[in-house]
Every structure is written in C-alpha cells, then in structure tokens.
C-alpha cells in the first residue's frame, strides 16, 4: 500500500443555490481542486463521486459520466464512478479514491461530492432523505430521519441526564463557527433562547436542532505522497481511511445511544494511523442533529459515554482547548448537501492543516479527523489527515 496525499481542494458555497444546476456546482468544485493541485487533467486516472439521491432529487441517475463529460474529460474515456451510502456518500467516495491510489492502480484521482436538495419541496426532501433509514420497518410506520434521531436524544437524556439546553448549545456553537465561513449556508449567530424557542420538528428536537437541506459540492485531488511536493508545498497525508457499517434500522441496534459503527471506524482509524483521540486537534464531526454531535463525540472517543452534553456546553470544543470541533460550522451551519458533506469535511480539515482557514484557523492544528454518518449510523466513515513533513 502506498501513502496517499491530498494535493488540492475545492468547494462551492453551500445553501439554496437556485440559480445553479447540479452539474454546474459539481464542476465548479472539481475544477477548483484541480487548479489548487496544479495538476494537468492529462495526469488524471479517474473520478469518484459521492451522491446520495440524484435519481429522486433531480431525476437523473448515472451522474458519474455526466460530471466527467462536463468536466471536459469524456474524450479521454476516464473511469468515473458514483458511490452511494446515504449521508456518508461523500466520505465513502473519498475512501474509494484512497483505495485506488493506495493500491497503485491509479496515480491521480478527483474525489467529488455533490447534492442538489432544493430542486424539490422540503416535504419531498424529508421523504427522500428519510429513505436512508429503513423504509419498510421505520418510514412506513411514520419515522423520519429527525424523528429517529429524536428517539436517540430522548434515550440519551433518560440514561445520562443530558439536558435540552445542552443539545441547543451544539447549534449555538455551530452557528458561531459558521459565521466565520464564507461558504456557509447560515452565517447568522444563534442564541440559546432562539434554539430553545424554535418550532418543534420531532420532540425534543426543534427546527434549529436540525441541519438544513442545502445544495453544494466539494472536491479533493488525491495522489501518491511520494510525488506530492511536485504539486503543493503543504501535502496533507491521508493517515487513515476507514468505513464501518451496522444494522440499517435503529430498532436493531444493541444500544441506540451508541453508534457502534462510529466506534468501530474510529478504532480502526486510530490503529491505522498509530494515533489516539488525544492527538486530534481539529475535527469535523456529524452534527446533522444536535444530538448527533454529542453521541459522535462520545463514540469517537473524545469524551466518556454520557458526558458530551456538559463537556460541550462548557465550551471546551469551541476553540482554545486541545480539540476544536466543526470549525466550518458543521452540517448545522455550513450546510448539509448530503453527498457533498464528507468531502467538504475533508476540504475544511485540509485548509486547517495547511494553515489557510483564515478567521476560523485552529492554532497548532497538526492532526485532523472527519466523521461522516449515513442514515442513523448504518454507514460511518472516519478519516485522519495530517501535515506531511
């Protein structure tokens, strides 16, 4: 296995991009990444594209050759493959790109993630995104994705004494971080009272506990670490890339307040990189719902089970502490274009590790983590990235 590096990154603005099509945003992110990597497209071997639901969201399946074509690469007949794993599609694509370069079969690949959620009404987007949980045994009985996470929240509150205010604190944090990110869907700050007073979605979760439906795309260029300095002064090594899966339905998990797939993916990733959670300085974690962020922090090994609520609320992950979480604003504030999320997380961590994150730069960031979740935790992908010296 070869060492793999991120050579370039690109990302569109996230949000309600009504004037831009799926293919436009996909191409924008990919071309940015190619320019950033100072890579000629003649050197490319293939594309890996994370996308959750283009078939139902924009009535277009088979998007991988479409993006290849509009990227101007169809004449070269490169390989282009779409990868789907619900909300974790983007980081699954990153994993596939990593495998391709690590294996030695490909040298340079573009990994992209793109989703266009605002071409359908919100109710339809809720239905489509909820199909990343078990349709036959959850959705048919009235479950939506936020409702399932609300079940996790209620149980977490019951078992560990997590409070409604501690949940709300996650949204306050994310919006504070997002206010410094020019690509963020939301750049407004939120008060605790605003989050607590927002209308209910699935109790105890309200509107401001839930990430928005966003349009957006992100891309990275991967290549072998050994030749990375031809393309960049600050190559970022992909120190670990791990995928773990679990039962599709929440009802079939051993314990709903633990995402065992997160623990498994994180454990393997730290083993692969010979590192521990204490080494991580900056992390982009799954916070599609405020409860998801708390459960994620616990299952990734950053805090003890049941302690994320109080430890998050005391501000230790909001900058200045050993670990800063979601400097991009996370899914809650930067936005949630499902299939693009995992790639955007990697883009943010690369910018942090290069020292290019401007107003939101985490000082001393040397090792970063991304954590991407599909459905209620049936697919989880964890990456560790570090500055190569």
């Amino acid at each position: 296995m070869r060492e793999v590096a991120v050579l370039g990154v690109g990302q569109t603005k996230f949000g309600e991009l009504w004037d831009r099509s799926f293919r436009e945003i996909g191409i924008e992110a990919g071309l940015q990444a190619l320019v950033d990597a100072k890579l000629s497209s003649a050197e490319l071997d293939g594309l890996f594209l994370g996308n959750m639901a283009s078939g139902t969201l924009i009535n277009q399946e088979h998007i991988a050759p479409l993006i290849l074509d509009y990227a101007g690469l169809a004449r070269r007949h490169l390989s282009s493959v779409r990868i789907e794993g619900g909300g974790a599609s983007g980081s699954l694509a990153l994993h596939q790109g990593y495998l391709a370069v690590a294996s030695g079969l490909y040298d340079y690949v573009v990994v992209g993630g793109a989703e266009k959620l605002t071409d359908v009404p919100d109710a339809e987007a809720t239905q489509i995104t909820s199909s990343t949980a078990d349709h036959e045994w959850e959705a048919v009985f009235g479950a939506t994705l936020p409702a399932l996470w609300a079940l996790v929240a209620r149980r977490h509150m019951h078992l560990y004494g997590t409070t409604r205010e501690q949940l709300a604190q996650v949204a306050v944090h994310d919006h504070l971080m997002g206010s410094k990110n020019p690509n963020a869907h939301f750049r407004n700050k939120l008060s605790l009272e605003q989050v607590l007073g927002a209308g209910p979605i699935a109790e105890p979760l309200g509107v401001l506990d839930c990430a928005p439906f966003s349009d957006g795309a992100a891309a990275v260029v991967l290549g072998p670490l050994e030749t990375a300095r031809r393309h960049t002064d600050t190559p970022i090594r992909l120190a670990a890339s791990q995928v773990a899966c679990d039962s599709m339905a929440l009802q079939h998990r051993k314990e709903i307040t633990t995402l065992e797939a997160t623990s498994a993916a994180a454990h393997r990733a730290f083993q692969q990189a010979h590192r521990t959670p204490q080494d991580v300085r900056v992390a982009e974690i799954h916070d599609a719902y405020t409860i998801s962020a708390l459960v994620s922090l616990e299952d990734l090994g950053f805090v003890e089970k049941g302690r994320a609520g109080p430890e998050f609320a005391n501000g230790q992950f909001s900058g200045g502490g050993p670990l800063t979480v979601n400097p991009s604003g996370g899914l809650k504030a930067q936005g949630r274009p499902f299939g693009a999320v995992g790639v955007a997380q990697a883009v943010e961590i690369v910018r942090q590790l290069r020292g290019e994150a401007k107003d939101r730069q985490v000082s001393g960031a040397s090792l970063g983590l991304t954590h991407d979740v599909g459905g209620t935790g049936a697919t989880v992908v964890v990456h560790l990235l570090e500055r190569a010296n």
Binding site: A123, W137, G142, A143, T144, L151, P200, L205
Partner: protein, 163 residues
C-alpha cells in the same frame, strides 16, 4: 408504492410474524434468513423458524413528531416510539390512545391493528401495528387525547381506521 409491495408484508405488519433461531433461540422481527447473534452464524441458515410476537412491550424511547413522514400529514402531532417487546425484538411504531404528554419511557404498551396511512385520495390504504397503553396513564384517566378524537371525527367514515 405498488399494492404488492405492501401486501407481501401483511403477515408481519398485521400479525407480527417474526422468526426465531432454532440454535440460540434469539427472536427477530421482521424475520431474518440468518441469525446475527449465533456464534455458528452459517449453521443458522435454513434453521430460522417462524415465531409470532405477543405484541406486549414497553416504550424504550419516544418522540412527538410535528413534521410528518409522507402519508402521515393528517396525524400530526403523533407519538413515534421504539417498543421493547417481551420476546426481545424492538419495534418502531406509533403510540396511540394516549395524549402525547402522558407517554413516558417504560410505559407498558401492546400492539393494536390500525390504519397506518393512505396514499392520497385514490391510493392504497396501509394497515399495520400501532401501540396502545396497557396500563392507565398516571395523570388523566381519559384514554384518548381530545385532538385524536377530533381528527377521527373529521374523517369520512370510509377513511376511519378499524377499531
């Protein structure tokens, strides 16, 4: 959704038909072809036997849903719960015949046959299990919330769930 897609699940959705591993005796709902618990995983193939759940259980967690799943628009707000059944499997379903504020973790419930949702004016009407309390709620003796009664009355007779 096609009629066949729902119809083929009726033994499970109407009668709680699950399966049991004849090696380790773990019960599953919906039924499975292979036992995930069994140490001799491969040996459980073709050894899973039909098993019917009693429908008795208790609330493991719950939420009051305000932004509904498709086809549930007429029912908001509704209580969705994970129910830990007596035999082991956990089921996802609505809790009815109780006002949302009286539902709590640990509430004893039993499965009851109800209308789940309908696919528009001309589509299929789906039936299956929901859960009703088996003990009197602590605060109010009235078993039905006023909102639920009003909603049922508003529906034309043909759309009402069977009792």
């Amino acid at each position: 959704m096609s009629i066949a897609r729902f119809w083929r699940e009726t033994p499970r959705r109407y009668n709680l038909g699950g399966s049991k591993c004849s090696t380790c005796a773990t019960v599953y709902f919906p039924p499975r072809a292979v036992c995930p618990e069994c140490t001799s995983h491969r040996q459980s193939i073709e050894k899973m036997i039909p098993f019917q759940l009693s429908g008795e259980g208790e609330v493991l967690s719950y939420t009051v849903v305000h932004e509904p799943a498709e086809g549930f628009e007429m029912q908001v707000p509704y209580v969705l719960a994970l129910v830990q059944t007596r035999e082991g499997p956990v089921l996802t379903g609505q809790v009815v015949d109780i006002s949302p504020e009286e539902v709590r973790i640990g509430l004893k419930v039993h499965a009851t046959f109800r209308k789940l949702r309908e696919e528009g004016k001309a589509g299929v009407i789906h039936y299956g299990y929901k859960f009703a309390p088996t003990e009197e709620p602590e605060s109010h003796p009235a078993p039905r919330g006023p909102a639920a009664v009003a909603r049922t009355d508003e529906l034309p007779a043909r759309d009402r769930a069977p009792a």
